[in-house]
Symmetry: C2
């Protein structure tokens, strides 16, 4: 059995709105001497996508609402940044000193609505892509056109989670692979139903990719080879648990 | 930069109490033609460890308490299995039709206190290892003695999580690597504080390993090569968020 391999794809230049990200990623892939193969998986950080999609805001142009000004001291953020977080959110899930966790318009639950002010010039804030599944599909399609190779694309972001220390990378956009691997109804060799029913493969893939990307290494993408995934048109929104099924809302 | 590589280690025989698991894992590693290297990471499923540590119970010998008999119909489990789950737990976190989530004696929050009745003969249930950090240290030490190689060992289990569909593998035991990578106080190249503060590297490692292990492939361990981790004696209990810091208890 061949091992799974994970290659870090270096960023060759600062990304800005309108850049041809698939082209830049392909350049990065050739730079490390890799030949794309069918069924490779390309993991791209949401930040790289947001930058080329123009989801970068100069906070100096934001006028905070009264509510944003009221809660800004509690969450210990600039009122203009607070305004942006609220605008990106459907609801506030938890708000305590120095921290706000919201449900984004996509349905993701994370700190600061995913807004990010690191690895970008001062006064700028990066928002999550508007539709990360669509971003993933667009990259996949563009690479297919440029190279003839069918790969899967996963958009990653770094989220915290309840009960455990530390953050991990999870999938917020997926194209070309089934984000969930369903074992329901399958039997083991002792004829027992399996305890584990559904594996969030896409989240395991982004976590694996984070191990080569890190946060200070200027590696916005990873190429993963050797995973036997199921092809699918389902997106990462399948990973968002519906309120009806969620015990922890 | 070399890629990260993940090799599945096949199980060569059924595991039973008292087996020399490190020896069997080394046999599995030679079977796939790999030579152990310094700083490799060995990920082992908790189930393999529980089996050799005798954490397997015949449920026919269990006498359920009155409380276990009362809640068994709600969580839709055998009253004897319910009794076992309660005995493994510090408290019940959520209990709804067909599902019980508890905090284990170790502090992990998961379904059924981690109890597992799959991939084992009927009437048997596998409990989590009593002290998975100790199990990890023991395997690491034994392999060092047998081979002279220093590797890190991570014990994995498959847990669900709030808000997202699907389960992922997380680290319940760690020896030889720092489970958390701390970026606090570090600056990016624009002199911003990093948004991401602490990465749960050990959980990303187990998620990566799950991608080669699967649930029906008889692969209880994985060897990961090429991760630049920090050596540490801290265990996986560092990944358990203290109640004081947890917004979602």
């Amino acid at each position: 059995m061949n091992p799974i391999q994970i290659f870090g794809i270096p960023k060759l230049a600062e990304l800005t709105a309108g850049d041809d990200l698939p082209r830049l990623l392909l350049d990065g892939i050739s730079r490390i001497g890799i030949q794309l193969q069918e069924r490779d998986i390309l993991v791209v950080t949401s930040k790289a996508i947001s930058k080329v999609e123009g989801r970068v805001i100069d906070i100096r142009g934001i006028i905070p609402s009264r509510f944003a000004r009221e809660i800004a001291p509690l969450i210990q953020k600039d009122p203009r940044v607070t305004e942006l977080i609220l605008a990106e959110s459907k609801r506030i899930v938890r708000m305590v000193r120095g921290l706000v966790i919201t449900e984004t318009r996509h349905g993701f639950i994370c700190a600061n609505a995913g807004l990010d002010q690191s690895n970008i010039a001062k006064n700028l804030a990066v928002l999550l892509p508007l539709d990360p599944d669509k971003s993933a599909r667009r990259i996949r399609e563009s690479i297919r056109k440029k190279t003839g190779v069918n790969l899967a694309v996963v958009v990653s972001d770094t989220f915290g989670r309840p009960w455990r220390e530390g953050q991990t990378d999870i999938a917020i956009g997926v194209a070309g692979l089934a984000p969930l691997l369903d074992y329901r109804g399958k039997k083991d060799r002792f004829d027992n139903e399996l305890r584990v029913t559904v594996i969030a493969v896409a989240d395991e893939i982004t976590s694996a990719a984070e191990l080569v990307m890190g946060k200070t290494k200027n590696i916005p993408a990873a190429l993963i080879r050797g995973i036997d995934y199921a092809s699918s048109n389902a997106g990462a929104h399948k990973l968002v648990r519906s309120p009806r099924r969620d015990l922890f809302r």
